[in-house]
């Protein structure tokens, strides 16, 4: 079977418009989550991680775009443009395009939005990105709730191993919208303060927006220094509830076990876990149970939601990219917002930037519909 690698990558977020800047800001303890007062998004002030519109507009203008693009399209194009340029990959019929998003251009359903509501079709979003760059292949849009970003990496690996493509560009993105805020608020899932994953005082999520992109490659040449190999991945459903996680963490447990099997690694091989950690009571508790069932309680772990909020369909991809840079810098980054363990099982939450020799990391995500995904990555250059 082919090996597959994550290579060139980019993050467009409230903490910067390229991966090294974003990672540096995390190292310095900065968070993109701020108090937002915008009644077009939500009736009351709320905490979220929102990209500055002026900065986004200016950065996008430099690409000299022809035509009108939505906020999300601008974010995605800006992100993908950087890695297409950096990699120098020609967009032949051997190169795939995967978009991971939960809601795409959902803001266009609002009649106050100047763009037509037809733009909310995710396939249309796929074609806009394809046509902008001139991809030769049909875009693949993956919309699988909050595991989409990490499942997109699995999907790219699977299409490459099946011979469908040699290389795949993945771009993930979701925006902060009144649609999403009102929905999560109706679930009483939103925190009135910056979120605190795994903490005793946690009280729910913050929403965030980001576009992240990565090139998935089957060749080991032309890799940037932070590249990682995808050793194993799996996705398992809880078969339990459509909006609540399993009490036993069944799907996550099975996903990690299956990813370990394919990667041919065990719990003792894992140097770092980039977990989901939304900061809801039930999600974080479920993860603690699943990780303890696997004997992963002592492995250093963080949630990055305290820096970016929950960026939905992009979160798994964003957090995997941070993980790549964490390995490259041999540095564990703290789980922002955490002060005191607030789950029933032990976890080794990272509380300060820590230098450590890192070679393998585990990324996990869970979402509505009972979906869970896990993937194991290994540093290419040590």
């Amino acid at each position: 079977m082919n090996k597959t690698y994550l290579s060139y990558n980019n993050i467009v977020s409230s903490l910067g418009f390229d991966s090294p800047t974003v990672v540096q800001n995390i190292h310095e303890g900065l968070s993109g989550v701020t108090l937002i007062e915008d009644e077009t998004l939500f009736p009351n002030p709320f905490y979220a991680s929102v990209i500055d519109s002026d900065q986004l507009g200016k950065a996008f203008e430099k690409l000299q775009p022809a035509g009108d693009y939505t906020r999300l399209e601008q974010m995605m194009i800006l992100s993908l443009d950087k890695i297409i340029q950096a990699s120098g990959v020609a967009l032949t019929d051997r190169v795939g395009l995967i978009l991971s998003t939960t809601k795409g251009n959902i803001d266009t359903l609002d009649p106050r939005n100047p763009m037509p509501a037809e733009r909310a079709y995710l396939g249309t979003l796929g074609y806009i990105i394809k046509n902008h760059f001139g991809f030769s292949t049909e875009p693949i849009v993956l919309s699988n709730a909050c595991v989409s970003g990490i499942l997109a990496i699995s999907t790219a690996k699977r299409f490459i191993s099946q011979g469908t493509f040699d290389q795949v560009f993945i771009v993930g993105g979701d925006i902060v919208s009144n649609f999403i805020l009102s929905g999560f608020n109706s679930f009483q899932a939103m925190s009135s303060l910056p979120c605190k994953p795994y903490c005793k005082q946690r009280s729910g999520i913050n929403i965030g927006e980001v576009a992240a992109s990565v090139l998935v490659n089957k060749d080991q040449d032309n890799l940037p220094p932070e590249a990682v190999e995808i050793l194993g991945e799996a996705s398992c459903n809880d078969a339990n509830h459509i909006s609540g996680p399993s009490r036993t963490g069944e799907g996550l447990y099975r996903s990690i076990l299956s990813a370990f099997k394919e990667a041919n690694v065990g719990p003792s091989d894992i140097d770092y876990i980039s977990a989901h950690g939304t900061a809801t009571i039930f999600n974080d508790e479920m993860e603690a149970i699943a990780l303890n069932r696997l004997g992963l309680d002592a492995v250093p772990l963080n949630s990055l939601k305290g820096y970016f909020g929950h960026t939905l369909g992009a979160s798994g991809l964003l957090e995997t990219i941070i993980g790549m840079h964490s390995l490259y810098h041999n540095t564990l980054y703290p789980s922002k917002g955490f002060t005191e363990l607030g789950v029933s099982q032990p976890l080794n939450i990272i509380t300060a930037p820590t230098a450590k020799d890192l070679n393998f990391f585990l990324k996990t995500a869970s979402g509505f519909g009972g979906c869970n995904t896990a993937a194991v990555f290994k540093k290419v250059r040590s």
């Binding site: 079709y121 693949i140 849009v141 011979g163 649609f179 459903n237 078969a239 459509i242």
Partner: protein, 207 residues
Amino acid sequence: MKAQHLKIKEYCKISNNRVLLNDQLLYEDQGSDFTTFIKLAYKKMNTNYPKFFKMDDLSKLGFLASDILLKPMTQDSEISKNIALVFSNSASSLQTDRKHQESIMDQENYFPSPAVFVYTLPNICLGEISIKHRLYSENSFFIFNHFNAKYLHDYASSLIESEKADEVLCGWINCDVEDYEAFLYLVSKEGSIEHNKEEIIKLYTTK
């Protein structure tokens, strides 16, 4: 295990107010709208799963088509089957998205509901099917402008060949303003139809 050894064991279609299993017509009701039709089809198929009535249209459609194929395989089995679910469509969950959007348009009449919002993700349908049939398996939901047999074929083959799944329930379930359509097929190591792009297109386009 090579791709050419995989087969299509069975397939189910729900469209134009007809329910078909393989080439056999199970139910037809030309006079009804979707809401009535899918309820009558549910009864005719002896589905007997009260949670069905709280689902949105996309989940109802996908759930019923899946149930017709999976019930004989899972109802008497103590052990959960490793059947992956790989669905696709063009409208994602837009019908329910529009409903949620309407509920938040007017500040004076603001009533977002968690029972609606949860269905604003297409993969919720996969969760409903997984719960009913106790499938702790791979779930993926793709959005394509049109039915894409090549991608579905390659992805399902990869899941079985990498031993991530024993069988894959694959296909297209779509609900939009004008129309609805379900076409699901079971990829397996057994069956009489070859699992290749041409056969998948043939089954999909034969009315």
